[in-house]
């Protein structure tokens, strides 16, 4: 499956010549793969520099001039470092922007915590005009970006390095809609991003053990498809959220909100409790944190020992 970052470049190249308002600004990242866009859309591509708050802040001026800014760099720098710029220059001023990150949560596994980002989804969720997309496949990015990019919203696209590998039909991908990837009745697995792959594999193992597992997947986190969660847990009464996000505020909280007031539901979470120290491959860190089939099976033993 094509990398999300390459799809980002391809989508910009497809849209750019037809939409003269589209302006792409990067912080010295993805420079090579965006050259086709730069050539096709002269004067609308800028490798601005290593100054993320300024890039985001400048994008407010670009937006104010009537253009549509797309700002791209690594998640901790575009969201956490430039958060006041997002808050004041776009939130307060009611301006639109498209923020495209790579690297979160710990895709830059060998570079350490400085390049990790676990809070981005939470931070953007505080804006009423915030839209949060976590596409785990190229088709998802392409369709969701085209649906959202020209709206008067603060759009955040979090691109994982490793696609989940599951193929969807275009009709399944809509802003604000989750996807029921597998139907079941004993347990609901809620997954986002790359972790869909592990959720599907774990559900197959659980099936072979006689447990019927429902797998939900959410390419959009704001607006969140609460209805899909409610429909599922009404049947299963058990929900395990697998999210490469801070354990303190992420999809688990969205699931709690979606099911608030409903009795008899049991919740579990696999998430990131604190800084992910140490190095290795992305898969190495996943394994350590429980983002793997074994981790999901282990957690499910709470209910099915």
């Amino acid at each position: 499956m094509k990398k999300l970052r390459l799809q980002f470049a391809d989508t910009m190249l497809e849209l750019g010549p037809h939409d003269p308002k589209l302006v792409v600004m990067v912080g010295d990242i993805s420079h090579g793969i965006l050259q086709p866009f730069a050539k096709a859309c002269p004067g609308r591509y800028y490798n601005v520099g290593i100054c993320e708050p300024t890039i985001v802040n400048m994008a407010a001026g670009i937006s104010k001039s009537g253009l549509i800014p797309v700002v791209h760099t690594i998640a901790p720098f575009i969201i956490e470092r430039a958060y006041e710029q997002i808050k004041l220059d776009f939130g307060y001023q009611n301006l639109p922007i498209n923020l495209i990150s790579v690297g979160g949560a710990f895709d830059y596994s060998q570079l350490g915590c400085s390049h990790h980002c676990y809070t981005d989804v939470s931070l953007i969720s505080h804006f009423a005009r915030g839209r949060i997309f976590y596409p785990g496949s190229p088709l998802e990015f392409d369709l969701l970006f085209k649906e959202a990019y020209a709206q008067n919203t603060i759009n955040y696209f979090k691109l994982p390095e490793v696609p989940h590998g599951v193929e969807f039909q275009p009709s399944q991908i809509k802003m604000g809609k989750g996807i029921r990837v597998r139907e079941g009745r004993d347990l609901t697995l809620v997954s986002i991003g790359t972790q869909l792959k592990n959720a599907v594999s774990a559900s197959e193992t659980l099936q072979s053990q006689g447990l019927s597992c429902e797998v939900l997947y959410f390419p959009t986190l704001k607006p969140f498809d609460s209805d899909l969660v409610r429909e599922s847990v009404r049947k299963t009464k058990r929900v395990l959220v697998i999210e490469e996000l801070s354990a303190h505020d992420g999809v688990f909280n969205l699931v709690l909100r979606a099911t608030a007031g409903r009795e008899g539901i049991q919740y579990e979470q696999i998430a990131i409790p604190d800084f992910v120290h140490g190095y290795g491959t992305y898969e190495d860190l996943c394994k350590r944190l429980g983002f793997c089939v074994e981790g999901i099976l282990q957690r499910a033993k709470v209910w099915f020992p």
């Binding site: 609308r44 100054c51 802040n57 400048m58 001026g61 104010k64 009537g66 253009l67 001023q93």
Partner: protein
Amino acid sequence: MVTRAREGHIPSSFSIVDVVHHLYAKVLSYDAKNPQWPDRDFFILSKGHGCAGLYVVLEKFGFISKADLENYSQPGGILGGHPDVTCVPGVEASTGSLGHGFPTAVGLALGLRIQNRKNRVFALLGDGECNEGTIWESALVAAKQQLGNLVAIIDLNGSAAQILPVDPLVEKWKAFGWEAQEIDGHSAADLERVFSTLHLSPVGAPRAVIARTLKGKGVAMLEGHGMWHHKIPNDEELRSILKELS
């Protein structure tokens, strides 16, 4: 208005009001009855706490009313202690957190040029604001992109010298790739000379005008640095200030 609202930065507003007035009187193109006129020049007050100096000029040139001034920082009013683009006609950016308005101006100048529009962009910064890193990041970007449609005016009222000195500013802005010159920010002759000869064009070195000013200019009691930065005058002090200004 500041006394009534019990809110405002009087000396910081007095240091810029001559510059702001000159811009609206003689430099900027605008239509006060149609503040969103697409061909207007843009003025961004990056040192948002000096907004009282902007509000009175916006009122004088017809963007807002006397009633707006009277409702400054009152419930239902549109004018607050920092300017809000979402509700104040003529305000181009919501500033207040220092270091935001200028990068917005840089992006705006770039965005206008991308569209081959001839509008010019003027940003007024505080010298204390020049402590912010985003100012210098943006200065680098503007020079690299040769934003000849952009003017930065730095209100050199000596605030930075009280904390983290930034002078000599002319040399600093030149070192960052700008054409820079210093003027007396309270001299009508200097303001006329520099702004009538800027001759901006879409591509070229951006321009910095270092306006040497006096905080609290015009009222001896307020001039300089100290307790008046964010102090509200009592009735007696207000009478004294108004008497001196008249």
